[in-house]
Every structure is written in structure tokens, then in C-alpha cells.
Amino acid sequence: MRLWILVLLLPFSLLLNAQSFKEDISVVQYSAPFTSDSEISLKPFNDYNIYNFCITEKGDIFKKEKIKFLPTVILYNNGKEIIRVESDITLSLPENCKDTILQHIDKLIESKF
């Protein structure tokens, strides 16, 4: 019986530890201390997973995700990148950044029904 419980619990613990910022529907803002004024508020995405990553703390993730412009906002769904909104030369995100991401989230949600 104990063996069975261990066998059942093992995959759970492995999967729990395998959590990442790309799970489910996630909105991630990549930024830096010098671009904090250009960041958008992630409050409109409160119903989903939201993350604010700073290059000084999560540099490895920036490299892995090939972040070239700061700030950048990326929408992920179950590990896949759905859309990437990057800032322009003035270091500011497009005005429609929030709406663009919301539109894509809307499509993702709609596909579940």
C-alpha cells in the first residue's frame, strides 16, 4: 500500500516542481530598471498568470527567451509563445499593447468553449 502511495505521489511532486512561467495563459513583462517608466500595468490580466521579470534578476531567462528590446511583453499558452509585443526605439511599448494581448487571450479562451 505504501509503495502504491509513493508511486502515485512521485509524478505529482515531479510535476509540481516543473512549474514554469509559461504555464496555462501567462503574460510576462520583460524589463529593466531603466525602462520601468515604460512598463505597462499587468492588472488587466489579473485573471491569468502574470509575471514581471527584471533583467538584473532573471538575466538567464532573457537570454533564453531571446529578448532584444526592453520592455517586451509576451503572452504564453501552455509553454508556447502566442504573441510578443516589443518596445520601439523610444523604449516604449505600442499604445495598443494591452488590447493586442487581450485580443489574443480572448481567442485562446474562446477556443476552450
Binding site: F12, L15, Q19, E23, N78, G79, I109, K112, F113
Partner: protein
Amino acid sequence: MKKLLTLIFLFLSFNVQGQFFKDLYKELFKYSTIYVAGDIKNSYQEPVKDYFVRTNPDGGLYDIPEVVDGTEYHEFDYRYGIGIRKLARFDYEIKDKHYYDGSEKNTGLSAPTSAVKGLEYVFHFEKERERGEMFENHRYFLRHTGKHHIVKLESRAKGNVDFKYKSAEIRGRVPIGKKLSFSAGAIYRSHQKPYGYNPIEIWLNETDENGNAVNPWYTLGFDYGYDDHFVTIEYQGSTLYDWYWTDPDGNVVAHTDLEFRENVFTDLMNRYNQEIWSELDAFGVLSPIIGMDFIHYKDKFWLHFYANYLPPFHKYVQGDEDFSYLNRNNWGVGGLMDGSEHEQWDDYQAGIIMGWKLNKSIGLFIEGEYTKFWDSEIYNSSIGLNVTLR
């Protein structure tokens, strides 16, 4: 000035109302589907035809008889219904068809948590004809899921199996990370059947002070209009006797007591039980509930495990408690045993859905759900190993 203020006020009021209705529509109806659907199919056909012979009406017993097809034929089966649904599928669930028709079986209907937060519902009503009989079915389901709460209402009826079930539950929810959550609260459930209570057994086993049956078995036949008639047969110098039975219309239905008991009496027992059970109101029981949900989804591997446990602290709030599940083992000769105590029980439900695409060619899929509520055990499971040849 007054007019201007009134106009501004009205404008603002319309705007506020407009926003309110927009939000209301978004919460209630966005992503919902209204459908009308139906199907027609062949009814069940007996695998072997049933023939019998009838004596030729123009001849005698030894003339060529008439062969009659006694197989039961039914008109075609059909089903039509109407519904509205807003129920999200989990990422691993695939939409069966391009349209909804009310026959969908979503994990979201039984798992404690849902694929999306917010309001979800299914309101489906249908009529169906099966083997010539008409039935009405419905499923009404309403759930609101938040980060820290689950509220769920459900009513189901399936006419062809005489199944009726209602439930209402409210739970607090504690997410642990993004994949695991625990919940606890209270649930109300209804059940129709008085488990453990067998009226015919009690009726037949009732005895007087001398230990004789108060209700001899054959008196049930009299109660339903059947009658027995004494008959004697002279056979090889001996006199045999028995009773033959007639139905309320005077037709002979059994030539001996034994034949009556083995055939007609069995139906009468079931009829008696159904009549007594139908006099009882439905039962409603309030129980604590503890649940958990674990969901991991990736394209190549997904696992959804959920479980509900209802510990033995059930309280009946509807129906006659004497006939409730608390007394399922307390019925004896003559009725409820003196001094018997209520007996609590555990109910539980668990489900698992797992998919593992080992590579482009091989996939392993496991699905299963087990429910034990009262004396009812419902389980279904499937396993599939797919190998795609390339």
C-alpha cells in the same frame, strides 16, 4: 441649465447602464452556445426472431398451424432537445463534433475545479423515444469558480433509467501553485431510492405471536385481483390437488401454485415494492466535502487527477429519516429493528485523465472515473495505446 444638467445626467446614466449591460452580457453569455439538436436512429432489434404457432382457426390441433412472428418491433428511436451552454473544455479535451447537441461529456462537469474561472453553465432539456417509450431528460448545471471559491448547482434527470439527482455545493478553495488546489465545504445531494428498505420482505416476514405469517405469500395475489381455484385431478388411481390462478379478467395465468409463484408473483413483488417506494418523498442529505485537483498540461504529456471525499458526517434534511441510508442495515423481520442506531458512511469520487505522447508515433492514453455515492458504484475507464505508422 436644468435641461443641460438633465441631459448630462441622462447621458451618464445611459453610459453607466450601457457599461453595466455590456459587463453583464460578457459575464453571462460571452462564449455561450445556444443549440437545438436531435437525432434519429434504429431502435433495438432482437438478435433472434421469436416465432410461435397458432392453431389454424379453420382446423383442429393437428391441422397445419399458423406460424406467427412474435418478435417485438419498435418504432425508430429519436431524441430532440434544446439548450444553452457555456462550459470550458480543459486543454486536453477535444471537441467531439463541430456542434453541440447536449450529449457532450466534459470533465468539467464532475471535476471540482474548472478550465476557466468565472461563470459556467449547461441548461439542456430533451425528449426521447426509446423502444417505443417516451422519456424526458434534463441536465441543469451552474458553477462559479474563483481563485478561492467554488459554487455549484446541478439537477439531472434521465427518464429511461428513472434517474433523478440534485446537488448544490459551496467550497472554499486553496490553490497551491498553478497546478494543485484543495477545496473544502458543504454539499447537498438528493437520492430517490430508500437504500436497504425492502417493503415486500418486511411484509412477507411479518409474523403473529404464534410465529405464523400474518401475510401468507399468496395473499399478495388476492390484493392485486388475482384469484386461486381449487382443482383435483385423478391420476393412476391417486387424487392430486392444486390451485390454478386467474387474473382480474378471469384468464388463467398459472396452472399450479408453484407456477404462479415462480412467474406472476415475482412481478407482483416488484410492483408492490415500486408502489411503496413511490409513496416516499425524495431524500436530501447535507454533507461535508473535501476535494483536490491537479492539472498539468503540456502538448506531449498531460495529467489531470481529481478527487472528492465526503466524510461520515451526513445529515438528512429532506425525506423520512427512518427510510434513509442511515438505516440501510437496520431493517429486519417486521420493520425497523428496535434500538437500532444510525450508521454513517463514506462517499468518494476520483478521476484521472492522462495522455503521454512518447514520440511522434507512440501515444499512451488513460481515462477513468470512479464514484461511490450511497450504494451506487459507477465506474468507467479506458486505456489506449496508439502507434502511428509513418
